[in-house]
């Protein structure tokens, strides 16, 4: 946990860890499908955070649909919007929903969460490249014309990072050779056997 986050989070740590582990499971599913290893769970908390139920869970699907915007948070929001259709009252829905995600939401996702007016966000590792919840921009607290929401980071940070690392060590296998940052290793098979 980073020392600069003095704000105490309202949820019980056991509950947070339980849902973070579910999010990590989603990210592991993503690695199996050769997608970027980030997963999330949206949970509805009612009765003063006493009752909770999972609304949706998802992982990155950018390669599956050839769409770079399909991060797990966006997938979840889309699933909820599709479920409630045109006549949803999003204030009612998203004000009760808390997001658990393995990696800090990127700028796009952070602002989309802000547009939807989500209740809270708990995330695992920090995202130094595009983090929108305090790392690069602080879209969750600063007034950018939409709702603000509290965001807490660093839960199960190492586990979340490890899943991502495992993915990036291989490089993004879905890309063509000339578009990859890391070349495919010819000795991959030997390495996997030896390790």
């Amino acid at each position: 946990m980073q020392s600069n986050q003095l704000q105490k989070y309202p949820l019980n740590e056991d509950v947070i860890n339980y849902y973070m582990k579910l999010a990590i499971e989603q990210s592991k599913i993503a690695t199996e499908k050769l997608e970027v290893a980030v997963g999330c769970v949206m949970v509805k908390f009612t009765n003063n955070d006493q009752d909770h139920e999972i609304i949706t869970q998802s992982h990155n699907k950018t390669n599956q649909y050839g769409n770079a915007t399909l991060h797990c948070e966006i997938n979840c929001i889309n699933q909820i919007l599709d479920k409630y259709g045109q006549n949803y009252d999003e204030n009612q829905i998203f004000k009760q929903i808390t997001l658990f995600v393995t990696c800090e939401p990127c700028i796009m996702c952070a602002y989309s969460l802000s547009l939807m007016g989500i209740k809270e966000v708990y995330f695992g590792c920090y995202n130094e490249k595009f983090g929108g919840n305090g790392t690069v921009l602080d879209l969750n607290t600063a007034n950018y014309g939409a709702n603000t929401y509290p965001s807490y980071g660093g839960f199960l940070e190492e586990e979340c990072q490890q899943v991502l690392k495992q993915f990036y060590e291989k490089g993004n296998l879905n890309l063509d050779e000339d578009k990859r940052h890391r070349r495919k290793k010819k000795e991959d098979k030997h390495e996997s056997i030896s390790s």
Binding site: Q64, Y65, G66, N67, A68, T69, L70, I74, I77, N78, L81, Q86, E90, N91, F94, C106, I107, M108, C109, Y111, S112, L115, M116, G117, E128, K129, F130, G132, V136, L137, L139, Y144, G145, A146, N147, L175, D176, K179
Partner: protein, 361 residues
């Protein structure tokens, strides 16, 4: 139309005092090896600043950049290694900000030598033909935006354009129902549609490739048979009619194959090898919000043209002078932005639409 440039593009030199050490030319290698990455010689984030220069007063001497004066306190002064202590500490002026243009580089370089990388966001100048083309595409977008406004959505639409093939690949309109919190903005819609089309065409490509391989195999078999047939007939040299018939059949077969090949080529052309939107331009009527701006970065677009600035009443735009997400240093991609494309036409249509709205109410 006007290109949106980062603020530091027009900035003048931000001059700060820095501490340098002066010593003989001979010792340069030794000093760099020993203290090049040392804590006393700290460039921090000033990676564009060169470490050494020749002394202006004494050509046989070299000046070694130590650190900025703001960064230089007593503690560091006391802890300086003894090998450096006998040499002179001098104060010089350094331009701290990164040069973005060549003019800036020439100006900044006068103080203390710096390096200059040619930036990928060069200043683009369009000829009349290109201008007209851009305006035409934007007009189409504005017309689409008008239609979607009448269906009670926001006045916004966008298009993906392939600058090499001069072809619009995809249109999409806003579907937010004029609600502030909905993420069905036109950029999100267009990426969804474009991705779906891309996947479908990629699957088609895989199928056609399979078919092609099979056809090639068939072709080889049939041609062998043909050769055998013809050789027999040459020997016989009797039934010329048959020969002619078979030749005709052959031609027909070839025609059929040619037609198939052509259709395959056209499909392949349309799919090509797009990786998200790499190398493609996006036209959008109103400035994209922060979410959409980041979506454009994730999609690796080449350029963005927009017509109207975001009024900032509901959502913040991400591609204006203030935020300029497209030129953020930490992000892995940047693109050029052009604003005020056909803004008069867009403004008049938007205003007339709004007036109609009020009348209906």
């Amino acid at each position: 139309m006007q290109q949106l440039l980062p603020k530091d593009f027009l900035a003048t030199a931000n001059i700060q005092q820095a501490i340098v050490v002066e010593f003989e030319n001979k010792k340069t290698n030794f000093m760099i090896k020993k203290y090049g990455n040392d804590q006393y010689f700290n460039l921090k984030n000033l990676n564009h600043i060169k470490r050494i220069r020749k002394s202006e007063e004494n050509p046989s001497n070299v000046q070694f950049f130590m650190r900025l004066k703001d960064d230089f306190n007593e503690e560091i002064e006391q802890n300086i290694p003894e090998e450096i202590k006998p040499y002179l500490l001098k104060e010089v002026e350094v331009a701290v900000n990164m040069p973005r243009t060549k003019e800036q580089f020439l100006q900044f370089n006068k103080y203390w030598p710096i390096t200059y990388k040619v930036q990928q966001y060069e200043i683009v100048q369009f000829n009349d033909f290109e201008q007209q083309e851009i305006n035409q595409i934007m007009r189409q977008c504005i017309d689409q935006a008008k239609q979607t406004y009448e269906k009670n959505n926001k006045f916004n639409a966008c298009a993906i354009f392939d600058p090499n093939k001069k072809k619009i690949l995809q249109f999409a309109v806003d579907e937010t129902c004029r609600k502030q919190n909905s993420i069905k903005h036109c950029i999100m819609n267009i990426m969804k549609l474009f991705g779906e089309n891309y996947i479908v065409t990629a699957q088609q490509k895989a199928i056609t490739e399979k078919v092609k391989v099979k056809q090639d195999e068939d072709m080889n078999d049939s041609s062998k048979e043909m050769v055998q047939n013809t050789s027999q007939q040459e020997k016989e040299k009797k039934d010329e009619d048959r020969l002619e018939e078979e030749e005709e059949e052959e031609e027909k077969k070839k025609d059929k194959i040619n037609v198939k090949r052509k259709s395959e080529e056209s499909i392949e052309e349309s799919l090509s090898s797009y990786y998200y939107c790499t190398g493609l331009d996006v036209f959008i009527v109103q400035e994209p919000c922060i979410m959409c701006s980041m979506a454009l970065i994730h999609s690796r677009v080449r350029r963005v043209y927009y017509s109207l600035k975001n009024p900032k009443q509901e959502q913040f735009g991400g591609l204006n002078d203030d935020l300029m997400i497209n030129h953020m240093d930490s992000l892995n991609h940047s693109f050029l932005v052009f604003q005020n494309v056909e803004s008069e036409y867009a403004n008049t249509t938007l205003k007339s639409n709004q007036q109609q709205d009020q009348l209906q109410k």
